[in-house]
């Protein structure tokens, strides 16, 4: 009988916990506590690694580590992956590869020290069973960009949806807020 009581009590407690989590999940956009903890809604930590800037951001926009979870960076930075990096050869010195990987993992969207609200939002919407290797493959990103006409993306001044800084004028600083969006040959974007 006593055992049954404990079982029931823990079930109730368990349900209680679940409820709290769900409520937190639903309301967190307006949750002041969350905002205080994770900062501005559309920003991530800027890149603070010279090797990353030199090795990665010499060919493409320097995507901040907080834009993808650890498992994504681990997959992306595999030697085999780098040899065919979105169609290009991006092979790199082994020591540099490991240094970059540890930087990316330490600052990934799901790293414990990452306090960015944007990072949490991105992470939260990726299925735990998938490992996207591009931010543009993530559910959060797709939803945010689904209304932009293809012609504005394909145009010479932008070229690809992966060229963040072409429209997000403050992307280098890790800030992706709407008021800093300026699409070439279009102007400001109001959702």
């Amino acid at each position: 009988m006593k055992l049954l009581n404990i079982a029931i009590a823990s079930m109730i407690l368990g349900l209680g916990v679940v409820t709290v989590v769900v409520a937190d999940d639903d309301e967190y956009k307006n949750n002041k506590k969350y905002s205080k903890k994770y900062g501005a809604k559309y920003s991530v930590q800027p890149v603070k690694n010279e090797l990353y800037k030199e090795e990665c951001a010499s060919c493409h926009f320097g995507y901040q580590a907080g834009l993808l979870p650890k498992r994504s960076w681990i997959k992306l930075m595999e030697t085999k992956e780098l040899e065919n990096h979105f169609g290009d050869d991006a092979s790199i010195d082994e020591q540099d590869r490991l240094t970059l990987l540890s930087y990316l993992v330490a600052n990934a969207s799901d790293s414990k020290t990452n306090r960015s609200r944007l990072s949490h939002e991105i992470t939260r919407k990726i299925s735990r069973y998938s490992t996207p290797i591009a931010l543009s493959e993530t559910r959060y990103f797709k939803k945010e960009h689904d209304e932009i006409p293809t012609r504005l993306i394909k145009q010479e001044d932008v070229k690809t949806i992966a060229n963040c800084v072409a429209c997000h004028t403050t992307a280098e600083k890790g800030y992706y807020g709407e008021r800093d969006i300026k699409i070439p040959n279009y102007g400001r974007w109001d959702d």
Binding site: C59, H60, G87, D88, A90, S91, D93, K159, T160, N163
Partner: protein, 138 residues
């Protein structure tokens, strides 16, 4: 003995440009390898380098591409990555003193870009030729 003669001759293999000692050593090593691969090899050649740099090939993406697709034909000007749109600093040391200075970087880009444009690695001779072209192109 034979080796010493070769080393004395090799610095002449690269003409015109000022290379730092590390780069010179890298070029000398390439020349040794080129001679091994092809006994008729004498020295790196600007004209052959120009052909390597400006000709079009089916690249890694299965589409026609040339070095000039991104770097343009004026190496003193900035280039632009055709896939990402990112600006590329000028390749010519005449316009960009940081270019062709660090052996590690030169090796890295030759490996990557031969794959991108030729869909294979470059031979020692090809690498030397194209470096000679880049550093001497006016």
């Amino acid at each position: 003995m034979k080796k010493r003669v070769l080393l004395l001759l090799l610095p002449l293999a690269v003409f015109g440009a000022n290379l730092n000692p590390d780069m010179q050593k890298y070029m000398d090593n390439l020349a040794v390898q080129a001679k091994k691969d092809n006994p008729n090899f004498t020295k790196f050649d600007y004209k052959r380098g120009e052909e390597i740099f400006t000709s079009t090939h089916i690249g890694k993406r299965g589409k026609p591409i040339s070095c000039t697709s991104c770097h343009t034909t004026d190496l003193k000007q900035k280039g632009k990555n055709i896939n990402t749109g990112k600006t590329i600093s000028p390749l010519s040391p005449l316009a960009n003193p940081k270019s062709m200075v660090k052996v590690k970087n030169v090796k890295k880009w030759l490996k990557r870009n031969f794959k991108d444009v030729y869909n294979r690695v470059g031979t020692a001779q090809e690498k030397g030729d194209v470096v000679v072209y880049i550093i001497n192109k006016k």
